[in-house]
Structures are given as structure tokens and as C-alpha cells.
């Protein structure tokens, strides 16, 4: 029951404060339409604060896409290795490595991005990377979601019955054929659900982007630029850059509501995919 109360409370609080933000008497220029379609977000700078959420959404998506491009191939291949190639001993050891990676607090990944990935990996490659950039944050988020992708995809692949593999081998398939043409398609719904779950975590990730991505909200797809994500904006506000009760403060609730909607839709989609497209072999 508590879980239902929590959900209802989250939604109620967010809606109440969001409505409060959109109907603030001394800021008639803020509307739902201008919020979701505005391309400039500068609540703290300039004479007239501008609230268009698109730059924040764009920053969030940029970091998430980079994280996904890193974590999905690496995670899936590692999962294939674990489920199809590795011996029992290697598997146990690797799984504990992944468990450690999964337990590392995200603020540690943020520190890693800021003090290792940017200065020692990215900047030697190309000097255009600033101290804060979307690339380092994206890679760090990718490392963070890697264990999720790995262990969930591996579960999905191992759930494919051995008889399917044996059948394919009997028809003269190589291991490549069996893995790519039989096992992965059979476990695909689980793998896709794992990807979605991991990406949801990436979108909601806070401490890494607050440390490593910078604090400038801009509409860009350049990975070497600094971006601000929705979560990082909330951190900036709640750290006390804005007076409580002011319009900037209220805006963070609207941003939180947007974030909540996005993640909610993604988890739903994941659940539906898992249910609808699951292939049963028994």
C-alpha cells in the first residue's frame, strides 16, 4: 500500500508545484506551451529569465545517447561472452567485478569523469574538450549503466533453452550462427527491456552530470561542449543558487515533473515489451 501512496504523493506534489509554477501571478509569460517548446533556458542570467525546457531535455538526451552508445554494445557483447563462452570460474569472477561496478556510488563516477576521463583520456585526443563536457559525463554514465545492461541481458540470454542451441548446432551452425541468429533473437525482448531500464537510469542520473557536464544549458549536439541536464539543473537550484519560493525555485518542480513523465513512460514501455514480445519456449 505504501508504494501506491508514494506514487500518488509524488504525482500530487509534482502536479501541485508545477501548476503553481505555470500560474505564478507576477510571471504571466510562463505558459505550458512556452515551457515545452522554448529553446532558451536562462533562469539565473540576464534581465528577463527564460524558461524553455528544450535545452535541458537536449542536454539530458545527449548524455544519455553517449552513455547508450558506450554501454549497449559493450554490455551486450560482455553478456554474450558471459552466457555463451565463459567457463564457470571466469563467469563467477566477472560477475563479482560487475557487482562491484554496480555498487560504486554515482558521485564516484562523477569524480572519475572529472579527474580522469576528461584530462587523461579526452583532452589528449583532442584539445577542444573543456573541463566540463558532455562526452566525459556520457562515458561515465555509460560505465555506471554497464553492469545493469550486462547482468539483465545475460539473464535474458541464459533463459533461452539449451535445446534451441543444440538444434542449431545439429543443423551445422557455427557458434556465430547460433549466437547471433538463434540465441540473441530469442532473448531479444529481455535484452531490449534491459536497454530501456538502463537508459532510464541514465536519464535520471544526477551526481555524475552535476559534477562533469557543466552548468550551461544550451541546445547543442556537440559532445565537447558543456551541457546542463534536467537533473543537474535541479541540483544547482537546491544547492541554493536561487531563493526559495522564487520563480527559479518553482521551475525546478516543473523540470522534475518532466523528468518523472519521461522515466515513467520508459519503464512502462519496458514492462510492455517484456510482456508482449516475450518468446516462450517450454
Amino acid at each position: 500500500m505504501l508504494s501506491v501512496i508514494t506514487t500518488v504523493a509524488i504525482i500530487a506534489v509534482l502536479i501541485k508545484e508545477t501548476v503553481g509554477f505555470f500560474t505564478m501571478a507576477d510571471h504571466p509569460e510562463i505558459s505550458v506551451w512556452s515551457f515545452f517548446t522554448g529553446t532558451e533556458w536562462s533562469p539565473l542570467l540576464g534581465a528577463k529569465p527564460l524558461f524553455g525546457v528544450l535545452p535541458l531535455v537536449c542536454g539530458t538526451l545527449l548524455v544519455t545517447v553517449i552513455a547508450g552508445l558506450f554501454a549497449m554494445p559493450v554490455g551486450l557483447l560482455t553478456a554474450i561472452y558471459l552466457s555463451e563462452y565463459a567457463s564457470q570460474r571466469v563467469r563467477t569472477n566477472l560477475k563479482s567485478v560487475l557487482e562491484i561496478l554496480a555498487g560504486v556510488p554515482t558521485v564516484v563516477y562523477g569524480f572519475f569523469a572529472l579527474t580522469f576521463i576528461t584530462p587523461f583520456v579526452l583532452q589528449p585526443l583532442w584539445s577542444g574538450f573543456g573541463t566540463y563536457n558532455a562526452m566525459a559525463a556520457g562515458i561515465a554514465v555509460g560505465i555506471m549503466i554497464l553492469p545493469i545492461v550486462c547482468s539483465l541481458s545475460e539473464d535474458a540470454l541464459r533463459a533461452v533453452p539449451q535445446s534451441l542451441r543444440d538444434g542449431a548446432y545439429a543443423l551445422g551452425s557455427t557458434k556465430f550462427d547460433v549466437t547471433i541468429k538463434v540465441v540473441v533473437p530469442a532473448g531479444l525482448s529481455g535484452v531490449v527491456a534491459a536497454f530501456l531500464l538502463a537508459l532510464t537510469r541514465a536519464i535520471g542520473e544526477t551526481m555524475i552530470v552535476a559534477l562533469a557536464a557543466g552548468g550551461l544549458a544550451q541546445l547543442t549536439v556537440d559532445p565537447s561542449a558543456q551541457v546542463q541536464t534536467m537533473t543537474a539543473y535541479m541540483v544547482q537550484i537546491f544547492l541554493g543558487d536561487a531563493p526559495a519560493g522564487g520563480v527559479e525555485y518553482r521551475s525546478s518542480y516543473a523540470v522534475a515533473f518532466t523528468l518523472f513523465l519521461i522515466t515513467f513512460v520508459m519503464t512502462w514501455t519496458g514492462a510492455i515489451i517484456l510482456k508482449r514480445y516475450r518468446e516462450e519456449y517450454d
Binding site: 505504501l2 508504494s3 501506491v4 508514494t6 506514487t7 504523493a9 509524488i10 506534489v13 509534482l14 554494445p73 559493450v74 551486450l76 557483447l77 560482455t78 561472452y81 558471459l82 563462452y85 566477472l94 563479482s96 567485478v97 557487482e99 562491484i100 555498487g103 560504486v104 556510488p105 554515482t106 558521485v107 564516484v108 562523477g110 569524480f111 572519475f112 587523461f120 560505465i143 554497464l146 550486462c150 557455427t174 557458434k175 556465430f176 550462427d177 541468429k181 532510464t200 535520471g204 542520473e205 544526477t206 551526481m207 552535476a210 537533473t231 535541479m234 541540483v235 537546491f238 525546478s252 522534475a256 523528468l259 518523472f260 522515466t263 515513467f264 519503464t267 512502462w268 519496458g270 514492462a271
Partner: protein
């Protein structure tokens, strides 16, 4: 299904490429972990000392320590454990053992898995409104007070950004994980055990207390410990509710101000001076040692207590 015919040598080449690709990916995962640990160890070990563990934060990096965040983490996580573990386990028992298969149950189930996907910072916002301000029913400068301000149990409503608000916030964050892992533990108990107990004339309660729960407990404990290790590393929701980054005392009662290790790490790593990065790395080392301890306890419990239960 296997497409147009391809030569044997190409087939073998593809075969080898896949294996190399998989190996490479796995190596990346291991390499990244080592790079993470090594770079932090190199940066952090020089500042790690006994006085680092026993002194308070300071403007000078050489004199700063982590006593306040360390004790803050202990307080907050204890409160979180006291709330989340019993509530999580009893919810799981209700859902698995007592609730009938119905639309309501399905809805609750879906809801719990959705909640586990909600970003932790959003929980922070809920907690800010619910625990810190108590929905604004009482102004925070004239709170209702309970008990003596010298005692541990001294309580004010609304809570304000205090230890208890922090603990409850973390409990909200880890509850879905806790419920799901306990449910899985209960589901892993073979139904034949329950049926046998019922056949011997036990009531439903007796089955739960004497058969199912003891059988599922080791797995549940593992889940609980892993949830706690999640809680101990969580910074974002606590940043939203409190934002105390510099605290110069250890918590004395439920109403004390607090900071936790991840928040202190965040604060130090966000500063431009390299010296602060060094002590941030040292604090991370302490945090990782605590986490490793948690994980090893979980693994030991899993290996020692898990009796094979086959039906």
C-alpha cells in the same frame, strides 16, 4: 533462416570475430574498473590518515576530515534500515503469500516496478515537501516539539533538514528494490514446502512464520544488504532535502543537521583546487572500503546460509 550460403572460411572468420569482439568488450569492463580504482587510489592514499577520519571539515584541505559525514552516513543508514527492511519484507510477504491474484495486486506490482525506475532526485523532491516541510501544515520556525531536546528521541514536526528526514528519504528510495528482492526470495521457496506444511494442518500464518520466512531469509538478507549499499552511496535526494555541505559536529539526536559521505565527496570534487580533489579521492577510498565490506558480508551470507532447497 541461415540466409544465403557463405563459404566455410568466411563462416569461421565471422565466428572468430565474434569471439574476439566479446572478449574485447569484457576486457573493457574489467579495464575500466581497474582504471577507476587505480586512479582514485593514486590520488587518495597520500591524504588518508587517522586524523582524516577523526577531524571535521575545514577550509584548508590539509586539515579537513570526514568525521561528520562518516557519522552522518551511519545515522542516516541506520534509520533507513530500521524503516525500509521491515516494511519491505512485510510488503513482500503480503504480496506473495496473502494477496489474491487480482487486478489490484497486478496494479500494485506494476507500480512498484515503476517506482524503482523513478530517479532518486525526484524522491528527494517528494521528501522535501513531505518530511522536511510536512506539506506546510506547520510553519518551520514554530514546530510542534516532542520530548527533551537533550535526548536522542527529541522530535520536531516538521522535521526540517534533519537526520530523520534523511533516513526516511533514503528508505523511500530503496523500498522498491527491497520489496522486489524480498519477493524474489519468497518466490524461490519451493511451493512443495508450503503445501507440506499446510497438509500437516498449519494455518497460513504458521506457514509464513515457520516455513517460508526462514527458508527465504538468507536471500532476503542479501537483498537488504545490497539495498543498504545503494542507500549509503545515494547523494542526490539528500542534497535536495538538506544541502548541508559543511557540518562541524556529529549528530546528537534525530533532529541534528547532517551530511553524508557522498555529499562531502561531491562538495570537494566540485571545487577547482587540486588539493580538494585529493581529499575527495581519500573520502572515496573510505566509502569504497565500507561498500566492499557490505558486499562481502552479502556474499558470505549467500554462500554460508543458503541451504539448497530442492523440491
Amino acid at each position: 533462416m541461415l540466409g544465403k550460403p557463405i563459404s566455410q572460411s568466411k563462416k569461421m572468420r565471422l565466428n572468430r570475430m565474434l569471439m574476439i569482439g566479446c572478449l574485447a568488450a569484457t576486457t573493457i569492463a574489467v579495464l575500466v574498473l581497474s582504471a577507476l580504482l587505480v586512479s582514485i587510489a593514486i590520488e587518495g592514499t597520500s591524504s588518508l590518515s587517522w586524523s582524516f577520519l577523526t577531524s571535521f571539515a575545514s577550509r584548508k584541505p590539509s586539515q579537513a576530515g570526514i568525521l561528520a559525514p562518516l557519522m552522518g552516513s551511519v545515522w542516516v543508514c541506520t534509520i533507513c534500515a530500521v524503516v525500509a527492511i521491515p516494511v519491505g519484507i512485510s510488503t513482500a510477504i503480503y504480496l506473495e503469500e496473502f494477496a489474491r491474484r487480482s487486478r489490484v495486486k497486478r496494479l500494485i506490482q506494476l507500480n512498484i516496478s515503476n517506482l524503482s525506475g523513478v530517479p532518486s532526485i525526484v524522491y528527494g523532491i517528494l521528501a522535501l515537501v513531505a518530511f522536511v516541510r510536512f506539506f506546510g501544515i506547520r510553519p518551520s520556525d514554530e514546530p510542534w516539539t516532542f520530548g527533551n531536546s537533550q535526548s536522542i528521541w527529541y522530535l520536531q514536526i516538521p522535521f526540517g533538514p534533519s537526520v530523520i528526514a534523511g533516513g526516511l528519504t533514503l528508505a523511500l528510495v530503496v523500498l522498491p528494490i527491497m520489496i522486489i528482492s524480498s519477493q524474489e526470495a519468497l518466490r524461490a521457496v519451493p511451493p512443495s514446502l508450503r503445501q507440506a506444511a499446510l497438509a500437516l494442518g498449519s494455518t497460513q500464518w504458521q506457514v509464513v512464520w515457520r516455513v517460508t520466512l526462514p527458508a527465504a531469509l538468507p536471500t532476503m538478507m542479501t537483498g537488504a544488504i545490497l539495498s543498504m549499499s545503494r542507500a549509503i552511496g545515494e547523494a542526490a535526494p539528500l542534497l535536495v532535502i538538506g544541502g548541508f555541505l559543511l557540518v562541524f559536529q556529529t549528530p546528537a539526536n534525530l533532529m541534528s543537521d547532517f551530511t553524508v559521505l557522498p555529499l562531502q565527496i561531491f562538495n570537494w570534487s566540485g571545487r577547482p583546487q587540486a588539493d580538494f580533489h585529493k581529499i575527495a579521492a581519500a573520502a572515496i577510498l573510505v566509502q569504497l572500503v565500507v561498500l566492499l565490506a557490505f558486499n562481502s558480508i552479502a556474499i558470505i551470507i549467500r554462500q554460508k546460509l543458503q541451504r539448497p532447497l530442492q523440491s
